[in-house]
């Protein structure tokens, strides 16, 4: 019988933005990676935002999965300590790729790319004490057909409840993105090619998630109308409600999306145009709520512009708004431009939380942009606080679930618990 490898997969903690209500969703990347592990690997997952761990626990091999730039320094610290104790560490995930060179200094191995079909090799090398410093599969994504369902059994499920309400499960129906937006590194990470999963695979994944509420985390579903509509059509019988990034706003797509359970979508709002106004109206007409994502500090933003933008958001009746400051993450055009123009003020990756100004804006001081960021949060939620707006969204989904007979009541045993209590 093959000897078991005890593999601890850690998702490092980071400081949440105080302006936002903190919800901890079960992280998707580690579960996708865990699904690709060979049978002889015994995986234990630690979400450090919710779980403590001891370096003294016996483990053979440590994996550190990082999604955000604000996780990297914590990830490096964890790896440094394990390596000091003689335990081998491997990094993977989005921010391990964005910060690969620096991460390599703290790792026995860095995995670049997508894990499917590659972990046999990595774990074989580990067992033969022959781990490579870098596994570079950035340019060789696996065939999308072999991507299987995420391994959600690694989660400690009870941790992902807020006052008895189960948090959304994350699923993905495609990879890559054919767009190339200014602040985004997805082109570098997922490749510039949109790679939809076969619809039956995506549907299987959604059906398997033991949750009536999903977050379809695809970069953008609005990339191929026919595939998008086919996907929505197949989702209808699942009777799940979901949120996602942008979907196309053609009436026939929105009709299907609504039938498929579209609950709310994230929509970037970058100006006060009729185009945006109309788009939001179309979503609302189809009973799909909208959470605006608003990036502050673009080169055409001054104080007046930002104040007008916030008023506009209230006027168009956004259901929720999430404000962030432009952050020049590596491998984005924003980073390239700021670097060329010598406008980056900090390379402390802990500051790259999208709530802290780390660059010199064009039309105002960094301090003023920081103030306007706080102003935007306050002003938008002045009359109707964030918690109340969220409650309205929750009410909407409960009503739908009641109507379709899929409603699951809150877990009474977890009713008193918010996330931080678990640590």
């Amino acid at each position: 019988m093959e000897k078991t490898v005890t593999f601890r997969l850690i998702y490092p903690r980071w400081d949440k933005l105080p302006e936002q209500t903190t919800f901890n969703l079960p992280p998707h990347g580690p579960a996708v990676m865990a699904a690709t592990l060979p049978d002889y690997v015994d995986v234990e997952f630690i979400d450090e935002n919710l779980q403590a761990f001891s370096y003294d626990d016996p483990v053979d091999f440590v994996g550190i999965s990082m999604m955000l730039t604000t996780q990297v320094k914590r990830g490096w610290t964890i790896a440094d300590e394990y390596r000091r104790r003689g335990v081998k560490t491997m990094f993977g995930g989005i921010s391990a790729m964005l910060h690969a060179e620096e991460t390599a200094d703290h790792a026995d191995s860095v995995f670049l790319g997508e894990a499917e079909g590659r972990m046999e090799e990595v774990f074989n090398d580990f067992r033969n004490n022959n781990l490579k410093k870098v596994y570079n599969y950035l340019a060789a994504p696996p065939p999308i057909e072999i991507v299987g369902p995420a391994r959600r059994s690694i989660y400690n499920r009870d941790l992902y409840y807020y006052r008895g309400v189960q948090m959304l499960d994350l699923v993905h129906a495609s990879r890559g993105c054919r767009f190339n937006c200014y602040p985004c590194a997805v082109a570098y990470l997922g490749g510039r090619k949109f790679r939809p999963r076969p619809i039956d695979k995506a549907i299987e994944e959604m059906a398997l998630a033991d949750n009536n509420r999903l977050f379809v985390v695809d970069n953008s579903l609005a990339q191929d109308t026919r595939w998008e509509m086919d996907l929505f059509r197949e989702m209808i019988p699942l009777k799940k409600n979901w949120c996602s990034h942008t979907i196309e706003d053609k009436p026939e797509v929105l009709d299907l999306a609504r039938q498929a359970g579209a609950w709310y979508v994230y929509q970037a709002v970058f100006d006060t145009s009729d185009f945006i106004k109309e788009r939001i109206r179309r979503y609302h007409d189809h009973d799909i709520a909208v959470e605006g994502t608003i990036l502050l500090g673009m080169d055409n933003h001054d104080e007046d512009y930002i104040k007008r933008l916030v008023d506009f958001l209230l006027e168009i009746d956004l259901d929720l708004a999430e404000f962030t400051v432009l952050t020049p993450f590596p491998h984005t055009k924003a980073y390239d431009d700021m670097r060329k123009q010598k406008r980056i003020l900090s390379h402390d990756w802990n500051d790259y939380n999208a709530g802290k100004v780390v660059f010199r804006p064009k039309l105002m001081s960094p301090e003023l942009l920081q103030e306007l960021y706080y102003f935007a949060w306050e002003r938008f939620y002045q009359d109707e606080p964030q918690q109340y707006k969220m409650f309205k969204l929750l009410k909407k989904v409960i009503e739908r679930e009641m109507a379709s007979g899929t409603y699951k009541p809150r877990r009474r045993d977890l009713m008193r618990r918010a996330f931080a209590d678990t640590l």
């Binding site: 690969a100 670049l112 870098v134 570079n136 950035l138 340019a139 054919r178 767009f179 190339n180 200014y182 082109a187 570098y188 490749g191 510039r192 090619k193 970058f270 100006d271 673009m298 080169d299 055409n300 491998h331 055009k333 924003a334 390239d336 431009d337 670097r339 060329k340 123009q341």
Partner: protein, 120 residues
């Protein structure tokens, strides 16, 4: 070779296949190289992210003299409402240590100045 105007394939970070537009204009005192970012058509690393390596690759591929190189990065106008996607040109000042380029430093210049430079 007096003039090159074509697509250039290069290895981006972590050897990811990447491509840019490339114009080389040989003048009596220097070789002007204009690399154009292709955005969606570039499957890999941006030209800015690997400017020093890209310059070295072009010098090597086209047999240019590193001492005569004037390297310019070009991003074309993308017809976006965001001003970040307007056309831009930057001279990339690079240090040559005898084997490789390093220390890129960007100087924004106008299209008119580029036109002037490449005019016969």
């Amino acid at each position: 070779m007096k003039y090159v105007d074509q697509i250039h394939d290069y290895k981006g970070q972590w050897d990811v296949p990447s491509r840019c537009g490339l114009k080389i204009v040989r003048k009596h005192d220097r070789d002007i190289v204009i690399a154009t970012e292709l955005f969606e058509e570039n499957p890999g690393t941006s030209i800015t992210n690997v400017s020093a390596q890209l310059a070295a690759d072009i010098v090597h591929t086209y047999g240019l003299d590193p001492g005569r190189l004037l390297f310019i990065e070009h991003c074309s106008d993308r017809g976006s409402r965001l001003e970040h996607f307007r056309e831009s040109f930057d001279i990339v000042h690079l240090k040559w240590d005898g084997t490789r380029f390093g220390d890129p430093d960007w100087e924004s210049i106008s299209r008119e100045r580029v036109d002037e430079m490449i005019r016969d």
